[in-house]
Amino acid sequence: MGLLTLVFFLSRLLPGDAGTLFLSPTVSPEAAERLRVQFGLDRPVPVQYILWIRALLEGNLGLSFSFNAPVREILARVFPNTIILAIPALFLEMLLAVGLVAVAKRHPGSTIDRLLSRGTLVVYALPTFWLGFILVMVFSYWLGVFPSAYMWSAGSEGSSPVDLVRHLVLPSLTLAIPGAAGLARYLASTVGDVEKEEYVLAGTSMGLTHWTVFRRYILKNSMAPFISFMGTEIGGLLAGALVTETLFAWPGMGRLAVMAIFARDYPLVLGCTLLAGVVVIVGNLMADILQAILDPRVRLE
């Protein structure tokens, strides 16, 4: 609710209203006025706010000025593309993180462990777009393995999944790598605590292999903080999508938000920000629920 209010008033406070902004000077003042009335921009701001909230509750996000279509439809068309990008990135991130930590913690304190813990710090700090930049340079211009932009090859939209996957590789890697490094650091510190527990020692002394101990004892007990971190990571993915989608010309929500801002399309900007906020909140909620399912201690509280 706070988010709604903030977003609404910020966008209304801003200079120029949409009616004047998207009409060209050749349009007569009467026509412009009619349009403002049509969009409800002539009412007092509090009334606009209440109307907006009411419409929102009915699932109506208003009309986009620049696309001349309901915001909901545009978002519904574009959001799946972001999901297509984000879900593989999320899985890739988890996979990379768990894999790295498994390798590093095979011999805690070894050279590999130290190297990885420092290496992940470096990778974590790298800017997403620079990483994407290098990936594009190496893999699509020098090696020519993967395409550098768009979701489908020209002329074959929606035809073959292989094409989509080839287009997906670089953006999802760009999105996943810095996140994976952060996740690996976090997981490594949890694992570092867990592996000092006595049940781990007990498992090891029972003669279980390193991998079994890691999987059954250490990883399972490190899961709770891991999952809550994933919840916050969804927000990070969205922010990363903004840049990544622009870089790879991926037709998703991030690119839409940037375009909407350049077009001063307030309803669309509001819609994007709201959707992003909702996704972040849902992500956190899901993480909490998952944690409660996995960890009985959380449920009892």
């Binding site: 706070g2 988010l3 903030l6 977003v7 910020l10 966008s11 801003l14 200079p15 130290r114 190297l115 813990s117 420092r118 290496g119 710090l121 470096v122 974590y124 700090a125 790298l126 800017p127 997403t128 777009f129 620079w130 930049f133 290098i134 594009v136 340079m137 211009y141 550098s148 927000g235 969205l238 922010a239 903004l242 840049v243 622009t246 870089l247 938000a257 940037v258 801002i261 350049f262 001063r264 900007v269 994007c272 920000t273 992003a276 906020g277 972040v280 909140i281």
Partner: protein, 413 residues
């Protein structure tokens, strides 16, 4: 460490510094440039032209000097203290502490003295026929527009020309004079050109020198990052202290506010704000600070809650010392290590966010160079020129990595 800011005088100095830095940022920069010009001219003996803006120059000198001293002092004392406490043995990893602080200090120095270090002024374009998209180390032609004489007194034009002459190895720069027909050049506008300029890092799509732009971009990017980090330090420390000391309701209220601010998808709001309020440097700083203070506030509150149960704080309270004085004299000095690491981290975040905004075309507007908008421009000619984005990105990455590893080595909350 304890003697650093415990006194009101020290705190006052910090506030003054901050006010100067944030409010008069442009002026400080103007002063810095004009100072550097003056130094350059004086050193080469090319002219005794007194550049305008002596006042700004002095502000610049004082601000930068204080700031560097402050930074160095904090960092050095801080690290040595941490080393003492940990008996030095805290994992000397891939990036040693000294290296990361060296990288940061170097980049800050580059950003301070950028107008001295650039081979050519960053917006000077090469000959568009043969100097566009030159690979690193290639040679090309530069055409230099010295600009208009805005002050109308001829001094600034003269100074700028002499500066350019020196930068481009004097004699080969030709100031366009009256042409063959005897027409005077346009009043107040002058041009010079040089045929065999070495583009060390290559040139971009408009024939500008990437190295010069990357150096000039350091000033913009790091300046914004620093100002935003300091501003969010102030906000965060204030809110954290108020929440920790202000009683239960204040605490609940402020922490709910912080949680709310944390729940907002920051970058989305930031691009909205920046796009609507205009992309001035001040706006960027305020927006980045407004979206970055929460971490500091939380850490400070947590520390204050621990510290306020300690004997020396209780004793001060019993002696009737007012709360603000307890905060300033007893709490802030003890919070300093935490504050430093939070601020360094915040600095990295702000620099990254500024770069991301610039990359999207919403940050500092071209032709002013910042690392972010250079990367954004490089995207358009990625296929033809990999060097345009690589070098500014590498500088950005080195700053971020250094800042992160420095914050990492400091004690956390």
């Amino acid at each position: 460490m304890r003697r650093l800011i415990p006194t009101p005088a020290g705190l006052g100095m910090l506030v003054l510094l901050l006010a100067l830095t944030v409010l008069r940022w442009a002026r400080v920069w103007d002063g810095t440039i004009s100072l550097c010009l003056g130094v350059a001219l004086g050193l080469t003996g090319k002219g005794e032209t007194v550049l305008p803006g002596m006042y700004e120059q002095w502000i610049a000198v004082v601000v930068w000097w204080f700031f560097l001293i402050f930074l160095l002092f904090v960092v050095v004392r801080h690290t040595s203290r941490v080393q003492q406490r940990n008996n030095v043995s805290s994992s000397p990893g891939l990036i040693p502490r000294r290296l990361s602080s060296l990288v940061l200090a170097t980049m800050l120095f580059v950003s301070l003295t950028s107008s001295l270090l650039v081979p050519v002024p960053p917006n000077v374009q090469g000959n568009l026929l043969n100097s566009r998209l030159l690979p690193p180390l290639a040679r090309g032609m530069l055409i230099i527009d010295i600009g208009e004489d805005r002050e109308g007194d001829g001094t600034s034009l003269e100074g700028r020309f002499r500066f350019l002459q020196r930068k481009l190895l004097d004699s080969r720069v030709v100031l366009s004079g009256p042409d063959e027909k005897g027409n005077e050049p346009r009043p107040g506008v002058s041009e010079g050109s040089r045929n065999d300029f070495h583009f060390l890092f290559g040139s971009d799509d408009a024939g500008r020198d990437v190295l010069s732009r990357a150096i000039a971009g350091a000033r913009v990017s790091l300046g914004i990052g620093l100002a935003a980090a300091l501003a969010s330090l102030l906000i965060g420390a204030f809110i954290g202290l108020a929440a920790g000391l202000g009683g239960r309701w204040m605490d609940v209220l402020l922490m709910r506010l912080t949680d709310l601010a944390l729940a907002i998808p920051g970058i989305f709001v930031a691009i909205g704000l920046v796009a609507f309020f205009g992309q001035s440097i001040l706006t960027l700083v305020l927006v980045l600070a407004g979206l970055g203070w929460m971490g500091t506030a939380r850490i400070v509150r947590g520390q204050v809650l621990v510290l306020r149960e300690r004997e020396f704080v209780l004793a001060a309270g019993l002696l009737g010392v007012p709360a603000w004085r307890i905060a300033v004299r007893h709490l802030v000095p003890n919070l300093l290590p935490v504050l430093v690491s939070a601020t360094v981290l915040q600095f990295a975040n702000a620099v990254l966010a500024e770069a991301a905004l610039g990359f999207l075309g919403l940050g500092v507007q071209p032709p002013t160079a910042s690392w972010g908008n250079m990367m954004g421009e490089a995207l358009g000619s990625l296929q033809r020129g990999w060097w345009i984005g690589l070098f500014p990105g590498a500088m950005l990455a080195s700053v971020l990595v250094a800042a992160h590893s420095m914050a990492e080595d400091s004690p956390g909350p």
